[in-house]
Symmetry: C2
Subunit: 449 residues, 2 copies
């Protein structure tokens, strides 16, 4: 396929129309792609253990459990507690600012030193390599809520939180995405190739040595700064896949599951404005209001001031307001459809002026306003302007009277009026003819007062 | 004028088209209507005291001031305090449920005993007779914010609060309204004729005797139960004319000044949902949500349960929701007009398919979507789906690709796209012809890949 633009050959998607390439594992894999995957078989008493992804289950459930047990015998020192908290925050940023906003969404650019820091902290969070994480995450954005979404909330809140990791997934099911930019990023490729070493060093060895050499608390560093801190970071960031698709408002789009909620934001270092994020994924912000909690955004902004980050992407406020406006409009239209707006004009009988006048004299309280005849019989006693005024308009054209001649009726009065429609005047000009005739003092047969 | 309906002759408005009769004072008046009124002269150092309505000023400013001074020597007993508070509440109801909702707006009907109670309590509030009060109030509704509004907030917050009473007003300026129903109400007419006696008895004598006979606190009854209680009731209910036209939201109509605010509601026994009230004046409620503070509504409702009130008027929820919806729609349309929605299609140049393809090959990144040509040159590097995919669509018709063929773009993406419009395709069917030709494997000259 010839390049259709002046861009370098390399960036054109080869596999048009799908536009993506298969995710080729950089390391060899033992899995035989021809054999049906275990997830294609129903779970039974005999095979359930084959469905479980034991490696992931160990990493996100068994080890934390063991950590809780060990904590029973390990006193928590204040310094270690403070270290663990600061480290939790940094590891969290590794995921939110690094894996997520920098690599998965390219929402800003970072100097090498910042990239190394983010990759190291991302490893300390123990949530998979940048490459693996971003591939899944891009699939999640592109195929949100569908079968191809790796952590679709449509399969349940628990599934989107950890089920998708604890149970084996068919890799072929997950939507394909283009990660050629990540394959070109040396740090990403290096972290992916040496992932296990990175994790052990950053998540466990580093906190142990830091607290050990710092204030002699080797065990505390390992248990609190390592294992339990990992658990907290993991559970917190997993909430972006579960809570952020389940709790809150949908100010920009309600066709899919992402939602905005301050609680999710508090838990996830600011990733809680997820409806916004799915709509504007390459915006470096998740919260757009200054008073909303988005420390990830604040960190990126500070890095920019320090010269470590640049090219922060931001959607125009105009586009954001357009999205918000259209969503309100959509809700409004839905609401409008549930209300009674009176019989449409084209479904009303056409009535002759003479018949209108005659019927008005026969006990029906009819009033003509703007060419439409209204039956106000039941309303006279409720008229806020009193019985006398409304009665004086019966059998007449009260258009001008209603619209300011006597009283400029409110919107509410116009709405109410439309529910009283019973017919439209034939021709529609009789009123004008009659008025002109009166003015010219001619004899008009149907004058009734 | 012959009656145009089957209503009793009496209720037809005689003075069509204005529909109202002059306010004829029931008692003789000394004022000479031919002499110009003092309010028609500018205020000067020489005549300022002639501008002041000394009677009103005494009633609403001097007497309360004297009361505050006297309170210094009058110890406040608990029983008197409780009595004064309960009396304040009842006198307040006299205005809000009696003068306002029952008589001025006929929003419900009351048995004689309830009417007598409300007329008595209304007198205890010292805010003018029901007849005078309702006439002004109807003018206020009918001519809101205009010159004919007796307490138009357009003349300043202080004017709408007490200025209109403290300074002499030209009675001819105030809009005329129909109060024939009040002239037919024996209690209203009686209270009007004997207004001064009613006030002295109810506002001063009654609390003095009550506290005196009850627990020997004659002075306390007079000062706290009488004078200062009057002051509080007056200032509180005056807020309906000032605060309620100044503070809060306008969920139903923003053409005039009335506003909804909980603070006003708290001060005025529930009259704070004033935007609603001006739109639906004959609704016996001011607050329509159960959790909003409207003790006047609650009282009317309880009287109904006791058989003392009946025919409580209420606008249909449908009409209320319509009003609210239209107001939101109005705000939305105003907002919409301030946003950039891209060049309107009819202002775009019409471009030939061949020229579009040619230009795309000459370095301009043009993409055709839905018959419109878009220049995405500056956007390629920012595309959240990556450079490769968007580049692969250059010089092509990407309608299907953009709308789900590769990725079903969000609303935000559609909005953004519209800001990139540069032309429309001539004819508009070329795309279809080209596609059909390709399918049929015919040779088409402008195939470019
Ligand atoms: C024919 C159907 C009519 C309907 C449905 C109607 C409805 C209403 C409503 C809902 C109000 C409350 C205030 C507002 O919403 O603006 C009102 C007030 C009023 N109407 Fe009508 N009206 C009708 C006819 C008339 C006519 C023919 C006249 C005069 C000849 C009239 C004179 C007034 C006046 C003077 C008020 C002001 C009352 C006040 O705010 O205190 N109305 N009307
Ligand atoms: C021509 C103008 C285009 C504009 C203005 C545009 C705009 C956008 C925007 C704003 C997003 C963010 C997600 C969303 O809002 O839905 C997005 C995502 C995406 N776009 Fe485009 N796009 C264009 C063309 C294309 C083309 C031609 C393709 C494919 C050939 C494409 C493929 C994608 C994909 C796969 C994503 C998903 C990325 C993700 O959510 O992670 N786009 N695009
Ligand atoms: Fe998501
Ligand atoms: Fe994301
Ligand atoms: Fe008002
Ligand atoms: Fe009112």
């Amino acid at each position: 396929m010839a390049s259709t633009s002046n861009l370098p050959e390399g960036v054109a998607a080869a596999a048009f129309p799908d536009g993506t390439k298969d995710y080729k594992p950089l390391r060899s894999t033992k899995q035989d792609i021809k054999k049906p995957h275990i997830s294609e078989f129903p779970i039974t008493w005999d095979n359930w253990y084959k469905h479980v992804n034991w490696l992931n289950t160990t990493l996100i459930i068994f080890i934390p459990l063991a950590g809780f047990v060990a904590a029973y015998w390990t006193p928590l020192q204040l310094k270690t507690a403070i270290f663990a908290f600061v480290f939790y925050f940094n590891a969290g940023l590794g995921i939110t600012a690094g894996h997520h906003r920098l690599w998965a969404h390219s929402s800003f650019k970072a100097r090498t030193i910042l990239k190394v820091y983010l990759a190291a902290m991302g490893a300390a969070a123990v949530e998979g390599s940048i490459r693996w994480w971003s591939r899944d995450h891009r699939a999640h954005h592109r195929y949100t809520d569908t079968e191809k979404d790796p952590y679709s909330v449509r399969k349940g809140l628990l599934y989107s939180h950890i089920g998708w990791m604890v149970m084996k997934q068919n890799p072929k099911r997950i939507g394909r995405t283009d990660i050629s930019d990540l394959n070109d990023d040396a740090i990403v490729v290096w972290q992916h190739k040496h992932y296990l070493k990175c994790v052990i060093t950053m998540a466990l060895v580093f906190p142990t040595i830091f607290c050990g050499l710092g204030w002699g608390d080797w065990w505390g560093g390992f248990i609190y700064g390592g294992i339990l801190r990992i658990f907290v970071v993991q559970q917190a960031t997993f909430c972006v896949n579960s809570l952020a698709h389940w709790l809150g408002e949908q100010p920009f789009d309600d066709r899919n599951s992402p939602r905005d909620h301050v609680i999710t934001a508090l838990v996830t270092l600011g990733e809680g404005y997820h409806n916004f994020h799915h709509e504007f994924p390459s915006d470096y912000r998740n919260a757009i209001q200054w008073w909303q909690y988005d420390p990830t955004k604040w960190s990126i902004w500070i890095w920019k001031q320090l010269g470590l980050a640049y090219d922060l992407k931001q959607f125009r406020q105009n586009e954001i307001e357009k999205g918000r406006l259209q969503q309100i409009q959509k809700k409004l239209d839905q609401k409008r459809a549930t209300l009674d707006w009176g019989t449409p004009l084209d479904q009303l009988p056409v009535i002759h002026w003479d018949d209108f006048v005659a019927e008005s004299k026969n006990g029906k309280a009819l009033v003509a306003i703007a060419g439409v005849i209204h039956d106000v019989t039941d309303f006279i006693k409720d008229h806020p302007g009193g019985k006398a005024l409304i009665s004086s308009a019966i059998g007449k054209d009260a258009t001008a009277i209603f619209n300011g001649g006597v009283y400029n009726h409110s919107n509410a009065a116009h709405n109410l009026l439309s529910t009283m429609r019973v017919g439209v005047l034939r021709g529609g000009c009789e009123v004008e003819i009659w008025k002109r005739a009166q003015m010219e003092n001619k004899d008009v047969s149907y004058v009734n007062d």
